[in-house]
């Protein structure tokens, strides 16, 4: 009944009586009931507390743990002190299971009564020093819940936490990775290395980005001394712990590692990330979706690593829309980085989809072609060829969409595409779709001013004038506009030859003379005449407007401004651009609206060097003030836990001697020594680095300043871009007025 959602609180008293039941199963069910309804019946619930408290001392660890969970879960504020006591007891319990429950009880207790905070943080800090990875995961979750910014608690445990990362269960790994990402941003000043390394790697040849750790280390060592220390050793410790996590079966963990790499690591780490991320695409659709979002957002910044996975992004027939949209986007993002063969593959793939029968897919595919053309001007011609082939198709959607994209491409580089315009004008003979015709006519009109009138515009107009009456309204409007444009150009060319005072002579009567003089003027007046008797009043209005505008030579200037204004180059940004600023793997990124998601906090900025805590705080055995307990923990880890960090967690809680022997005999031996070595080097590095740290700090300070200013710059640029887009919108509004053309282009 309870599970069905019925309110069962009337049975409260009867149920609670059973709390002392000796059978574990019944006890559990009673507890579940208690958790659900205690809030509404606080007095009766208190009756059960006594029994539960007794259970805290039970011999069985399961019952003890259960008692803690239930007690903390009962939302009756009166008992907060009792809960705090129970937690205190649980924290020092023998059983790791109980300690884990105690850790999870901490946030619950905090919610009951925030005044218990100081006690709770004490407990938490003890738990963070725990040497069981069971407990650690829960402790980290609790930490994130109650005091996610108290990084001072983490310092001493940092290295232990990183080492334990691999042994935790996946949920613990997730929590810890989240914690460490924030921590690293706050604790490790960003240093020069980030940019230097990038350059270094680009230089030798970008094709082979798969630097193994060792190679990278060697490469850096061969550089100057400063270069080799560009990543804080502690941060490096974290980064090196992560690759193994990429083999986790939990997609969430893989994405979490991706976040660490994306937000913390120098770019060359991304290469290692690409494969596992792409491999998530073999999971179920929901996970695919989120993986793709992450891939796209990484690729927006750095698409290089994904270039070899082009075939993974081929759209499959069964993909739902939200998947293929992202796949197409990924394809276009990697497009500039792939070799010629793959480029052909991508283009033909897009072409294939452009000919499909799903209208949305067609649109998206054609736009994707457009983006491919934009990303690299060298390819524009090729993309254009593909698109021009589409223009002749009989499918209206496809033609309209490709023309919009063609227009974008042509506008980017008008001079290079005069031939294309001619070709398009030819296509007018075959194109039947009204939108397409209108679009072509507009384009021809845009280019009517090139080469001093030696172009197809006037000729096109002549041909169009023949069949004016059978055109659609849309096309007619464009024809009128084209006529006006051509005529305006004509006027502009002819006018300068006349003396300025001569303008007075040009009356309305003069118009006729001129019309006789030149076929363009004739054409213009002919089309106006046709338009004047058209059915559409809009068209008649327009015709009248152009006529009066161009009739008086004094307003030619105005007409030129109005009709022949240069159109700004449109940019079609990748659909999900703007997402890359959000934290990878967050819900906010999936939704794409940052402001509205409650609780979303962007990652803290890198801490500046002068405010970063000294590395020595992460030195548990060395720092004088650290309690003997933490020393014990550290040594415990280095002596006992290597088997785990290599051999993946076989240490039983009540270690049976036989089994641990087995472990040692087993394959983990080689690994033991390895991880041991790692620990030692990192310690030595630390001791050595103390001397140099001051110099470095200064440098990195400068560096961070530089970066800041650069960031500002880039922000400005962004703002500019926005402006441009706005302008484009304004402009398109204008154009709509003129042409009603751009309806589909936005």
């Amino acid at each position: 009944m309870m599970s069905r959602g019925t309110d069962c609180s009337e049975f409260f008293a009867d149920v609670v009586k059973n709390v002392a039941s000796p059978t574990l199963e019944i006890k559990k069910l009673v507890y579940i009931y208690l958790l659900q309804y205690a809030e509404s019946e606080p007095d009766l619930a208190l009756l059960s507390i006594n029994t539960i408290q007794k259970a805290l001392n039970d011999q069985n660890q399961v019952i003890r743990a259960l008692a803690i969970r239930v007690m903390s879960g009962i939302r009756v504020p009166v008992i907060s002190q009792i809960v705090a006591l129970a937690i205190k007891k649980g924290v020092t319990d023998m059983s790791a299971y109980v300690r884990k429950c105690a850790a999870l009880a901490i946030p619950k207790c905090y919610k009951l009564d925030p005044t218990t905070m100081p006690q709770l943080t004490d407990h938490l800090s003890t738990l963070l020093g725990d040497k069981s990875h069971y407990v650690m995961g829960a402790a980290v979750m609790a930490f994130l819940e109650i005091c996610p910014t108290r990084y001072d608690l983490i310092h001493t445990h940092y290295r232990a936490l990183v080492k334990m990362l691999i042994d935790m269960d996946e949920w613990g790994q997730l929590a810890l990775l989240r914690l460490l990402t924030g921590y690293a941003r706050q604790s490790f000043p960003v240093v020069k290395g980030k940019r230097v390394v990038k350059k270094k790697n680009k230089a030798p040849g970008s094709a082979d980005e798969f630097y193994s750790e060792d190679e990278a280390a060697v490469g850096e060592a061969s550089g100057t001394q400063e270069l080799s220390r560009d990543v804080d050793p502690d941060l490096e410790l974290l980064l090196k712990a992560c690759p193994l996590l990429l083999q986790s079966r939990s997609s969430a963990v893989i994405i979490a590692v991706a976040r660490v790499y994306r937000h913390l690591a120098p770019p060359e780490y991304l290469a290692r990330l690409a494969g596992p991320l792409v491999s998530l695409l073999r999971a179920s659709v929901d996970i695919q979706h989120i993986a793709l979002i992450s891939i796209v957002s990484v690729a927006l910044e750095n698409a290089q690593p994904f270039s070899q996975f082009a075939t993974h992004f081929l759209v499959h027939h069964l993909d739902p829309p939200h998947i293929w949209r992202l796949k197409l986007e990924a394809l276009t993002l990697i497009f500039p980085y792939v070799n010629i063969h793959t480029k052909n593959l991508i283009l033909s793939e897009l072409e294939y989809f452009a000919q499909g029968y799903d209208k949305e897919l067609i649109k998206e595919a054609v736009r994707a072609i457009g983006r491919c053309a934009q990303s690299e001007t060298r390819n524009a011609a090729r993309c254009l060829r593909v698109l021009l082939r589409q223009v002749e198709s009989s499918d209206g959607t496809l033609v309209a969409e490709s023309l919009t994209v063609i227009r974008h491409i042509i506008q980017q580089n008008p001079t290079a595409h005069s031939k294309t315009v001619i070709r398009l004008a030819k296509a007018l003979d075959t194109a039947t779709n009204p939108t397409a015709r209108a679009s072509i006519i507009w384009l021809v009109g845009e280019f009517s001013g090139m080469d001093d009138g030696n172009n197809v515009a006037a000729d096109t107009l002549r041909i169009l004038a023949k069949n004016f009456s059978s055109e659609s309204v849309q096309a007619k409007q464009q024809i009128v506009l084209l006529a006006a444009k051509v005529y305006a150009h004509h006027l502009n060319r002819t006018q300068p030859t006349r003396p300025p005072p001569g303008t007075e002579e040009d009356g309305i009567s003069d118009d006729d003379d001129e019309a006789q003089k030149h076929p363009i003027a004739l054409l213009f007046s002919y089309i106006l005449l046709l338009a004047r008797y058209d059915l559409s009043y809009d068209l008649r209005d327009r015709a009248r407007f152009y006529k009066s505008l161009l009739a008086v030579p004094s307003s030619t200037q105005l007409a030129t401004l109005l009709l022949l204004a240069p159109k700004p180059t449109p940019q079609a940004p990748s659909p999900s651009s703007g997402r890359e600023g959000l934290t990878l793997g967050s819900a906010a990124m999936v939704i794409g609206k940052e402001e509205s998601i409650r609780g979303y906090e962007p990652l803290p900025d890198w801490v500046s060097a002068d405010r970063a805590p000294s590395p020595s705080v992460r030195e548990p055995p060395v720092t004088a003030d650290s309690a003997p307990r933490s020393t014990m923990v550290a040594t415990g880890i280095s002596s006992k836990d290597q088997a785990r960090s290599g051999g993946y967690g076989k240490q039983p809680l009540g270690a049976s001697p036989k089994f641990s022997q087995l472990e040692e005999r087993g394959p983990a031996v080689g690994v033991q020594s390895k991880s041991n070595g790692k620990v030692e080097t990192s310690l030595e590095d630390f001791l050595a680095s103390d001397d140099e740290s001051e110099d470095e700090d200064e440098e990195s300070e400068e560096e961070s300043e530089e970066e800041e200013s650069e960031e500002e710059d880039s922000e400005d640029e962004d703002a500019d871009d926005d402006d441009e887009e706005d302008e484009e919108e304004d402009d398109s509004a204008d154009e709509k007025e003129n042409a009603q053309l751009l309806g589909g282009s936005k």
Partner: protein, 495 residues
């Protein structure tokens, strides 16, 4: 900050979508499950797995997962890692299936509310995932049958006789393995299942072909055994072991029990202490086109011709089924010919209980999606099997008769009729009609098949040994069985 608020399970096919389970881990959510469902249904299908509902107060992130006929909804009101919730939902489904049996249907949940409630309570504590390993859950929550016994005994029998049955007193030291496992028959089953995904261009050239492999393991071993599974890649029998598979198996992911360092040092070797019962040991990906000019050999191929016939309104699909290459290698069982040596699914060390030798293609089907313009299919004939036209696709199933023939063909031919064709038909010249016909032609066909005993990637299990552990007697030789299955999980042939 990142907690799962609640879980609601709906029955999708009930006449009025009724909630069959609700479980809240934290305090009562502000939005009722019914209104969440309304929001969910308001969106057109297919829906993304994460839906943002700004109209509720506070705004809700709604995670959803559809599993057979159940709909799982989980709302969250603050930022949370989406994959955390989704993985958790998947895990809940897995665990429930494990306890209640597959397929998971509403009635099963309804008759076992007590267990489901306990499970959900253990799986997350205050919204944080707590115990999600099926084995660990078995330690704390008893499966249905045992509970039934227990309840009957509570009423009648004295309690202590059953106390031994409750395993709850112990928490296993290994998170993924149950404590005190005992089996009378020790058995090990390895199923390697590969799902072939391929896209084949109109020219017949494969654009992409991948095989997604999953190693499913079923372990019924007593005590705490330590196993070593060695995989062998094709053509690697001449090379030294261990050096090869990594080149072909890309981006594996492993169950947490696998020692990653061992894999890193010696790729191809999986060393682990298995959980009890069924689990997914690893999954991997194999690119079937490592080089540009590699040929793709699939047992089923399709040739498609559109706009044929004198009216240009017909299309034809030919299916070629050939196990010849596969059988010849598998049937010999020795792997003599170097080209196909490791293809043979049934070649394995004698220690394994081998499955049947004959390779047989089963469940061959061709799905042809049709454009929306298509009204009906007329004059359809197929040489074998039966077809089924529903909605916007035709599914053509080809039965496989006996295992004697190694290759066969089948043809499917049909004419299409376009919507709104009748009135326009008279007095129209041929060209535009042909054009419209061409546009209404199907654009691809999707092949489905399954082959037992053959893996597209050619990977095979070289050996499976018990290298250590305790609780298993010295002389005990467990039965080991290996099974290979390849399925087509979307082989798309374009035209």
């Amino acid at each position: 900050m990142s907690a799962i608020d609640a879980l609601y399970i709906f029955d999708r096919f009930a006449p009025t979508a009724t909630i069959i389970l609700q479980h809240e881990w934290r305090s009562r959510p502000s939005t009722s499950p019914a209104s969440l469902l309304t929001h969910y249904n308001a969106l057109p299908s297919p829906r993304p797995s994460l839906i943002y509902i700004p109209t509720t107060s506070p705004p809700t992130l709604l995670f959803n997962l559809e599993h057979s006929n159940l709909l799982l909804l989980s709302p969250a009101t603050s930022e949370i890692e989406p994959l955390l919730v989704l993985e958790f939902l998947h895990r809940v489904v897995d665990v429930l299936e494990d306890y209640l049996g597959s397929p998971l249907v509403a009635s099963k949940i309804e008759s076992n509310y007590d267990i489901v409630a306990q499970l959900l309570n253990e799986m997350a504590d205050d919204g944080f995932p707590f115990i999600t390993e099926p084995n660990a859950l078995r330690d704390v929550v008893l499966p249905p049958s045992l509970i039934g016994k227990l309840f009957s005994s509570v009423t009648g029998l004295p309690n202590n006789t059953l106390q031994s049955l409750t395993p709850s007193n112990t928490i296993s030291p290994i998170p993924w393995r149950r404590a005190n496992v005992k089996h009378t028959n020790n058995e090990l089953y390895v199923d390697v299942i590969e799902l072939v995904t391929a896209t084949i261009a109109p020219s017949g050239r494969p654009l992409s072909a991948r095989s997604n492999g999953t190693i499913a393991f079923n372990s019924k071993l007593s005590g705490v055994p330590d196993l070593l599974l060695t995989l062998q890649a094709p053509n690697s029998h001449k090379q030294t072991l261990g050096a090869t598979p990594n080149s072909i198996i890309s981006y594996p992911v492993f169950h947490p029990c696998v020692r990653l360092s061992r894999w890193r040092d010696r790729p191809g070797e999986l060393s682990f202490v298995p959980p009890d019962g069924k689990f997914i040991l690893a999954s991997y990906e194999v690119d079937l086109l490592p080089k540009k000019d590699t040929n793709l050999t699939l047992p089923v191929t399709v040739e498609m011709k559109t706009a044929v016939g004198h009216e240009g309104d017909e299309f034809e699909v030919r299916v070629f089924i050939s196990t010849a290459s596969l059988v010849s290698s598998g049937g010999n069982g020795s792997g003599n010919s170097p080209a196909f040596g490791s293809r043979g699914g049934s070649t394995r060390s004698p220690a394994f209980g081998s499955s049947s030798n004959a390779l047989q293609v089963e469940e061959v089907s061709v799905t042809i999606p049709l454009p929306p313009q298509v009204k009906t299919l007329v004059a359809t004939r197929c040489s074998r099997g039966e077809y089924h036209h529903e909605g916007r696709e035709v599914v053509w199933k080809i039965p496989m008769t006996g295992g004697t023939a190694t290759s066969s063909t089948a043809t499917f031919r049909t004419a299409i009729q376009i919507r709104g064709e009748e009135e326009a038909e008279e007095g129209e010249d041929d060209a535009p009609r042909k054009k419209r016909m061409a546009m209404a032609m199907p654009r691809c066909a999707i092949i489905g098949f399954s082959v037992k005993g053959w893996l597209a990637s050619g990977i095979k299990v070289d050996s499976l040994k018990i290298v250590g552990g305790r609780g298993i007697g010295e002389g005990v030789k467990p039965y080991k069985g290996v099974k290979y299955i390849t399925r087509a999980g979307g082989v798309e042939v374009r035209c």
